[in-house]
């Protein structure tokens, strides 16, 4: 009798273990608590679909600089890294130096490679190996305040080139007395997309400093002329488009338009509530007939660390979250970003009502995005990117656009020479 009891107990225990296979614990670091909401939602779906490979996700959000410093030190010293980590794009080059501590993702990406916006895979790749997946395309678009456009009699669908844009701007200034747009003088989101549209960049494809090329000089001159010649633009209040002062002035209907990446939609819904129903999104103007009308800006690459004990599972989960159709739809639903797989943009789920479709006049922003999906040129990032962006933010823009102490050529040349040292 007693022996039987022991046997029954034993069988029950073993069966019990099988039925409740302990979920694998994966740690994930991010610098953005909103991203955790997304990952936690994805884990629920993953666990429902893969009962045998359940994941217990331990997501931790740290402050931006803290997280990247910790992660870099962990990679350098070889201990203490999480299984999965979010790495902001401007920090990413630091992780591609020396012995790379990230796991190649080519095997999970390859079957669907053509479904991704190629530029967004290229920015996290080195020598043909993909090390991370991005949250969004960051396609730069033009946001028009339609009240002002109507008052000025401007038809935004007729604006095709930057010359058209300037002409429309002059009409807006003449009719309403309001500036057509604002330029960032302490950040780079006005300048960088404009040069990226023309296939120019800060660095050339080989990673050499290319900041002072003729296209960039011409473009910066164009920006200066917008402020002082055609007078359609002013410096963004507070210096950049993430300043409280700017949000207040824009929200009060102070400016006709602004070009920023798609992820700026969330800033409108959160910080400029009075403009609800008044903003229409269109592609950026192009420079020449047949030129590009957008640029992919910013981003967060999520990578699997080589220190992880469960590299394979982490890789599959990461791809499910950021590379699968379902994950990409959730990125839009939860975070409001333009996901990197263009084949989901036409999915009905993407035009279902949410706070973004309610706020903006467009029926579906993704229809518009599909038109420009092949007009996005990848930017090149190097270990000097963060030095260079500091210069764009702290000296070049201010000196050329604000106090005009230097000409575009002087400012760009000086900064480029300093970096070439």
């Amino acid at each position: 009798m007693r022996r039987l009891l022991v046997l029954v107990l034993l069988v029950a225990t073993v069966a019990g273990f099988n039925a409740f296979a302990a979920p694998t614990k994966l740690t994930l670091w991010t610098f953005q608590p909103l991203h955790l909401d997304f990952y936690n939602a994805v884990v629920k779906v993953w666990n429902a679909q893969n009962p045998g490979k359940a994941i217990d996700l331990d997501g931790q959000a740290f402050p931006y600089a803290d997280m990247h410093n910790k992660l870099l030190v962990a990679v350098q010293s070889g201990v203490g890294a999480p299984d999965i980590a979010d790495i902001e794009i401007s920090k990413f080059p630091n992780f591609l130096q020396g012995t790379i501590g990230l796991v190649p993702l080519n095997d999970v990406i390859d079957p669907f490679r053509d479904k991704f916006v190629q530029a967004r895979l290229a920015i996290y790749a080195k020598d043909g190996i993909n090390y991370a997946l991005c949250f969004h395309v960051g396609a730069t678009v033009m946001y028009y305040n339609m009240d002002i456009m109507k008052a000025a009699g401007v038809n935004i669908d007729k604006i095709d080139t930057w010359d058209d844009y300037v002409a429309a701007g002059q009409q807006v200034v003449a009719k309403t007395g309001k500036p057509m747009t604002t330029l960032e003088i302490t950040d780079q989101w006005s300048f960088w997309p404009m040069i990226a549209e023309q296939k120019s960049d800060y660095f050339d494809k080989n990673g050499n400093v290319w900041l002072d090329n003729p296209t960039n000089i011409k473009t910066l001159q164009f920006m200066q002329d917008m402020m002082y010649k055609s007078k359609i633009a002013v410096a963004a209040p507070g210096g950049f488009h993430h300043a409280e002062q700017y949000w207040g002035a824009m929200n009060a209907g102070g400016f006709g338009s602004i070009w920023m990446p798609m992820w700026y939609m969330g800033r409108f819904t959160d910080y400029m509530p009075d403009l609800a129903g008044k903003i229409a999104i269109r592609p950026m103007p192009r420079w020449t007939k047949g030129g590009f009308r957008s640029a992919g800006m910013g981003g967060t690459g999520t990578a699997v660390l080589k220190q992880s004990q469960f590299q394979d599972l982490a890789k599959k989960f990461l791809f499910f979250a950021k590379g699968s159709k379902q994950g990409n739809i959730m990125i839009w639903q939860i975070l409001g970003f333009d996901p990197i797989r263009w084949d989901v943009w036409s999915d009905p789920a993407m035009s279902a009502p949410n706070k973004f479709t309610e706020y903006f006049q467009n029926d579906s922003v993704f229809k518009m995005l599909l038109a420009v999906k092949d007009e996005i040129y990848p930017v090149t990032l190097t270990s000097k990117t963060s030095d260079l962006t500091d210069m764009v933010r702290n000296t070049i823009m201010v000196q050329v656009l604000q106090d005009r102490s230097k000409t575009p050529a002087q400012a760009l040349k000086e900064a480029a020479d300093q970096l070439r040292k």
């Binding site: 870099l72 920090k91 003088i185 302490t186 209040p237 210096g239 500091d390 702290n394 000296t395 604000q402």
Partner: protein, 299 residues
């Protein structure tokens, strides 16, 4: 053996051991490691020595600007934060008066305010738009709205020094008050009898006898001034990573942060840190020499 532990031979070492250990671990090791790193390029798995290259890279306009800003800031804060707190401390130094307790408290409160909160409020008060508070207050007096924080080096320094004055006056008053309490009342009584005026008493009794306190406050102000980072980081915060337009708010520690942490160039950051150490050491030694700190009291 048992006797020797209790004896005077080992016990002293045992008692200083915790300090020695924490000193070696948290001060000495990082110092040595910083010196080594300043000659290295720090790359995951492949750090290597690059000679003086990090130091050569420091000869650039941003570094000069950082040194100049830190130096100016230190000088201005010392020029303001020594005389004003001394005068206030003298005025507040009558324990019987309830009003003086109230003022002491009021002047100390800013110290308790987090620099993040204070910096954010100042940033919004001094915003560039005509409708921002300070610009709209100055408007009726014919002052044109100005961009206090963007690109203008003078107004930026005024704000930084003003913020330091607002925050640290209270602390320095406490130092000087405690210094004042060590001065014997008899001296003032004797001076009164001899008919010395209030100014005469201040310059002949109070200030000379406060000298040790003044030396102390000046020394910590030199350290504090050169180590300033948070104030400028917050005033230009959001301005992505410690930078400010035209580098008007760039300090030496800000530059370490910018290069070492934002830029991932730990070697370069270490080199800046060592230069900062040398500058502070030099300034402190000159300053202490001027005050005659190293001279023997001649009785």
């Amino acid at each position: 053996m048992r006797r020797s532990i209790g004896s005077g031979r080992f016990a002293p070492y045992l008692f200083v051991l915790p300090f020695i250990l924490s000193f070696l671990l948290f001060y000495f090791y990082p110092l040595v490691s910083t010196v080594l790193m300043s000659f290295q390029e720090i790359i995951p798995g492949q750090s290597h020595f690059i000679g003086l290259l990090n130091y050569e890279r420091l000869f650039n306009p941003s570094m000069y600007k950082a040194i100049w800003n830190s130096f100016r800031y230190t000088v201005f804060t010392i020029l303001i934060l020594i005389p004003i707190p001394i005068l206030l401390a003298v005025m507040l130094n009558n324990p019987g008066n309830p009003a003086s307790a109230v003022f002491r408290g009021a002047l100390f409160i800013p110290t308790l305010v987090s620099v993040v909160v204070a910096g954010t409020i100042i940033r919004l008060l001094f915003a560039g738009s005509p409708s921002a508070i300070v610009n709209s207050l100055l408007g009726p007096f014919g002052v044109k709205p100005m961009d206090w924080l963007i690109g203008n080096s003078t107004s930026a320094m005024i704000l930084l020094v003003g913020m330091a004055t607002w925050r640290w006056t209270g602390v320095n008053i406490i130092y000087f008050l405690s210094g004042l309490q060590n001065i014997s009342r008899d001296l003032y009584e004797a001076a009164n009898i001899d008919g010395a005026s209030a100014w005469y008493r201040l310059f002949r009794i109070t200030i000379p006898l406060l000298k040790p306190t003044i030396i102390f406050v000046t020394t910590i102000s030199v350290f504090g001034g050169f180590a300033m980072f948070e104030e400028s980081y917050i005033l230009w915060s959001g301005n992505s990573g410690g930078g400010s337009p035209n580098n008007v708010g760039l300090t030496m520690v800000g530059y370490i942060y910018l290069k070492g942490f934002q830029g991932g160039a730990m070697g370069l950051g270490s080199a800046i840190g060592l230069i900062l150490l040398l500058i502070v050491l030099a300034v402190s030694i000159i300053q202490l020499n001027l005050f005659g700190f190293f001279k023997k009291e001649d009785g």
